[in-house]
Amino acid sequence: MKRGDLLIYLFIIFMLLSSFLIYFFLNRIGGANQRIKSVVVEYKRQVFTEIPLPSEKRTVELKGSWGVLILNLDGYKIRVNPASPHYCPDKICMNQGWISEPPQTIVCLPNRIIIYYRGGAQIDGLTH
């Protein structure tokens, strides 16, 4: 092995190790067995609504920068309803389908909307 390669491998190992250490550290202070309490919807980085979970089957309308996203809730599962595709130009949020646990997150950049779980394992560690 060449000398430069060794330095590159060391750098890669350092990056991987530190990212895994951060991950496990956050997991610990978050409490791995903590339950999901709610789902948070942010619009333009402001909390728009927070819905306690589990929820019965229902829909929530979210007014975004581009259109109205229709959110489907069912127990702990959440998705953006794909029925109104013209409300999002890239449709990444709709194509993502159901999410069911943290740290899964729905992000709709055109609408400036972020949807994430609160009270779940990793997330709590950092937000509180």
Partner: protein, 172 residues
């Protein structure tokens, strides 16, 4: 054979191949939608090691712009431009300064790591959600693995076709 036009044509051919790879490559599951593995960087690596300095950065910029013309400029395009350009610049720099001390596989592993690290950093800055750090280990690891794949595939291709891609076969 070493005329600028000749190099440019060869860069364009590798770019087209990269565009195809980019279009058929699926986005990574779960994390933040839109993050890609960057398999199209294979063509940048092959370009760098057969056509020399500045090839990787040219191929990357031309490729991402072309792909964005197909798909429309959005988050995905933004992420792939940022990740691609940073990783190409780093690989160019390592190649330029430490060509003799480094090999294709290690350099493309570094490129893969920085490709995903940059995309992750862009998402965190854009969304201002520091808890996205939980995705980092997964993204870095997949970037390194993509780099291993790109490096070994690239090294094999260069061994077999390197002279053909750079045009040096025709000179002899």
């Amino acid at each position: 054979m070493d005329s600028p036009t000749n190099k440019m044509v060869r860069i364009c051919i590798l770019t087209v191949l990269g565009v195809v790879l980019n279009l058929i490559e699926p986005p990574l599951p779960a994390p933040v939608p839109g993050i890609k593995l960057g398999l199209a960087n294979l063509m940048s690596v092959i370009g760098l090691y057969s056509l020399g300095t500045y090839s990787a950065i040219w191929i990357t910029i031309l490729r991402t712009i072309t792909v964005n013309l197909f798909l429309g400029f959005d988050l995905r395009g933004f992420l792939s431009l940022g990740g691609g350009v940073v990783s190409a610049l780093i690989m160019e720099a390592v190649y330029y300064f430490y060509k003799r001390e480094t090999g294709v596989v290690a350099v493309s592993m570094l490129g893969g790591l920085m490709h995903n690290f940059t995309q992750w950093l862009m998402v965190v800055i854009l969304l201002q959600q520091p808890y996205l750090v939980v995705y980092l280990p997964f993204l870095l690891l997949s970037g390194v693995l993509a780099g291993v794949f790109i490096g070994t595939t690239g090294a094999y291709t260069l061994r077999r076709l390197g002279g053909f891609i750079s045009g040096k076969d025709l000179q002899s």
